[in-house]
Every structure is written in C-alpha cells, then in structure tokens.
Symmetry: C2
DNA sequence: TCCTCCCAATTTGGATCCAAGATATATGAG
DNA sequence: CTCATATATCTTGGATCCAAATTGGGAGGA
C-alpha cells in the first residue's frame, strides 16, 4: 500500500495518517475507544506521537477526548450527520462553481478516470477499493476550486460522514449505483460547462446521499 | 480577565485558549515564531502541553509547523484571505438563514445588547474591548444556526482572518463605523424576519469587510 | 441479594531526558 | 576579502518516568 511506503518526517504525522485512513476506510466504529498504549504498540512508536495525533483528530471533530478518561471516535447522532450534510452541500456547490472556472481538459480527464475506477470497483464488488476512489471525486473538485480553506472544510465533512457510515457493514449495491450515476450527471454538467446545472446536480447528490443514508439507517433499526 | 479565572481540566487546554485568545486579540503578528520553551516558561507549564496546543492550532490552519524547525503563526497572502472570506460568506449566509428559524426574542435581545456594546466601545475608543465584542455578533449568529459543524467552521474563518488583520496596528475609525452600521442592517432584517434580506445584508457585509481590508492594506504599502 | 465503600489496577496528564536535526558562529583555504 | 567547511549551540521529536484520576472488583453491611 502506497500509504505505508510514504516517508514520514515525523512519527506524529505517520500516526495521524494511519488513523485518518482507518476512519475513511470505515475500519473503526463510532464510539470506539482509542487507548494510547494500544495504538503506540500497534504502530511501533511511543505514546507521545500517538497523543499528538489524537489531539489533532479531536480538534477536527473526529474524536472526543475526555480528560483523564481517554479518546474515542465520535458517535454522531442523525442530526449531527444531517448538519454536516447541510454544510457540505453549500461548500461543495461553491467548490464546483469555482472549479469550473479553473478546470482544463487534463482535469476533466482526471475526473473521468476517477469515475471509471469507481465503476470498475462496483462491478468487481471490490468495496475496499470503492471506498478509496469514491470520495476522490469530491476531493478532486474541492482541490480544483483552488481554495484551500474550502478544500480542507470539505475534506473534514467527508471524514465526519465516514464515521457515521462505518455502521453500515455491508453496503447496499443500490446506493453505490445511485451515487455513481449522480457523479456521472455532475460530470456531464461540467463537460457542458453549465455552472448552474453542475451546482444543482451536486446539491441533489448531497440530498440524495443524506436521505439514502437515513432511510437505510432506519431499516437497520 | 475571565479567561484567566476559568478553571482548566488540562494544561493543554489552558495553553490552547491562551494562544487562541492572543490571536483573536491581534496580539501576535503573521509569521511570528512560537518557540516551545518560551511559551512553556511564560505560561508556567512544561513543553508537553505547549506542543499539544501548537498541533491543535496548526491543524486548524492557524500555525505552520515545520518538522525540526518549529511553529510560526501563518502569514496569509491576500489570496488566502480572499479565499477565506469567500468561504465565510457562504457559511455565514447559511448560518443566518438557519438562525432565523430558531431565533426567539431572548436571542434577539442578546444580539442587540452585543451591538450596543460594539457601539459603546467605538465611541469610547476602547479598541481592545471592541475586538472582544465585535466578532461576537457573528459568533452568536453562528451559534443560533443550531449547526455545530457550521459554527466551528465560521469560528475558524474568523480566527484565520484575525491573523491577517493583526498587521493593522491602529484600526481606522471608518472601518469600525462601517462594520457597525452593517451589523445594524443585518439586525434590522432579522427583526423583520426577512430571510433573503438578512442573507443579502450579510453577504454585502462580507464583501465590504474584505474590500475595506485590502484597500487599506494597499494604502499601507 | 443488593448496595456501599474501599482498594488495586489501569490509563491518562505532564515533566524530564536524550538524541537528532537545524542554525549560527568561527575557522581556514583560496 | 570571500567563500566554504567545520563546529558549537540551540531547538525540536520522541521515549520514558512519575503522579493523579478513573475504573473495576471485592469485601462488608443492611
């Protein structure tokens, strides 16, 4: 895995990336406890860099740290996730508006390539791979906005939502297909350089994703 | 000062709040170096909690930490600040829209009281006091949105912008007056429960603040 | 049987210590 | 006199250590 090959200047960064990756890959469940020594031993470092990484994640709203008790992954309520989607929606529509101004053919190809990989992962039933490429679509657009603050906020929203969706053990094929087709619709608007259509498609994608999530969540209960 | 009386459960939180306060009060300049031992001695703690606080601030985009070199306050370019204002604008218009749905008479009084304090501080020429209450107007609205993610992002934008405005040593009375009158216009729209007017006034306030900042910045050069 | 209190074990918060990297100074060659 | 190299000093990264807080369990009493 590339992530492991990456050379880190500090152990703290290594631990941070490792934990964030686990979160994005849904390898941790909401409310899960993160004991410092466990992580330190598992990652082959001391408690110091582990603690620094935990504080960073906590300040981004991904962990909750209670003094003298410890850190656990947040356990977002349905309202928390809805709130996150509301914010994400305005941020992503803004991002796609900016991105359209900056985008050239190379960028467009990159997005198309990403969607092709999504499709391939779904067809092959490679869920791990799907998770790795799915949100890349959004991250690429966020990046193309050329606005670093916007990009970091969007990434944060995605991470927050990842924690919630980790409770869904076996993803419903229906959701994946639907998400893919919405990505295609957004891409189509981008190809046509139709700003308001792109914004509209993006907003609908956010609403649909949110709704799908909760209609599924209710079924589970 | 109340902040000093506050009881902290951890030294790390204490250091964090202390540094954030200095940033919001424009007591630190962009690019300023933050040596760990200096801060530790100044605040009467060891390097450990200082380092944790520095990482937290860095993960929020307020500090830049270079491995083996150290931490310094970020030194945002004009584009960085413009980008921050763009994001802040969409976040704050969203916040005021949500806030209007939740707001009762008590909340309205709180906003009016805040604006009265702003006015008082300006009249008396108490700049320190002005800084303390000025952005409270925005923080209150962000809080009334009832959306914690939105609130945290808005606060982060305000902090980022505070760093930039710290280069303005003596604030121009003109800016303060103009900001105050815009707050009053926003409040007026809130009183009338006019959502689109409130959004419009808020957006204009953002644009004006941003423009004022840069027209002033150019004069300085 | 259940509740309360107390003690042991575990875990975190924070201080200290050491090594490694970076910076600044000084030294020597051209 | 200038530049390059070497060295000393300073600062950070990370490991370890100790104290304090929390948790879990067991003993004792109602």
């Amino acid at each position: 895995m590339l992530r492991e090959e990456k050379l880190y200047t500090t152990s703290s960064d290594y631990v941070y990336d490792e934990l964030l990756h686990k979160i994005l890959m849904r390898q941790m469940k909401p409310g899960e406890r993160l004991a410092e020594v466990n992580l330190a031993v598992a990652l082959g470092v001391s408690r110091t860099p582990v603690r620094e990484a935990l504080r960073r994640l906590a300040s981004q709203g991904l962990l909750e740290i209670i003094p003298n008790v410890g850190a656990r992954l947040v356990s977002p309520s349905q309202k928390d996730v809805e709130d996150t989607f509301k914010v994400r929606s305005v941020l992503e529509t803004t991002a796609i508006r900016f991105a359209l101004q900056n985008m050239d053919d190379t960028n467009l190809e990159e997005l198309e390539e990403g969607i092709a990989q999504e499709e391939k992962a779904i067809r092959r039933g490679e869920f791990e791979e799907y998770l790795a490429v799915n949100e890349d679509f959004h991250r690429i657009i966020a990046h193309l906005s050329g606005n670093e603050v916007l990009e970091s906020f969007i990434k944060n929203c995605i991470a927050r939502i990842s924690i919630y969706t980790a409770i869904i053990d076996s993803p419903i094929h229906e959701i994946l297909e639907s998400s893919l087709s919405e990505h295609k619709k957004i891409l189509e608007a981008i190809r046509e350089r139709d700003v308001s259509k792109a914004e509209k498609n993006m907003e609908e994608h956010m609403i649909n994703t949110s709704n799908f999530l909760f209609s599924y969540g209710k079924k589970m209960v």
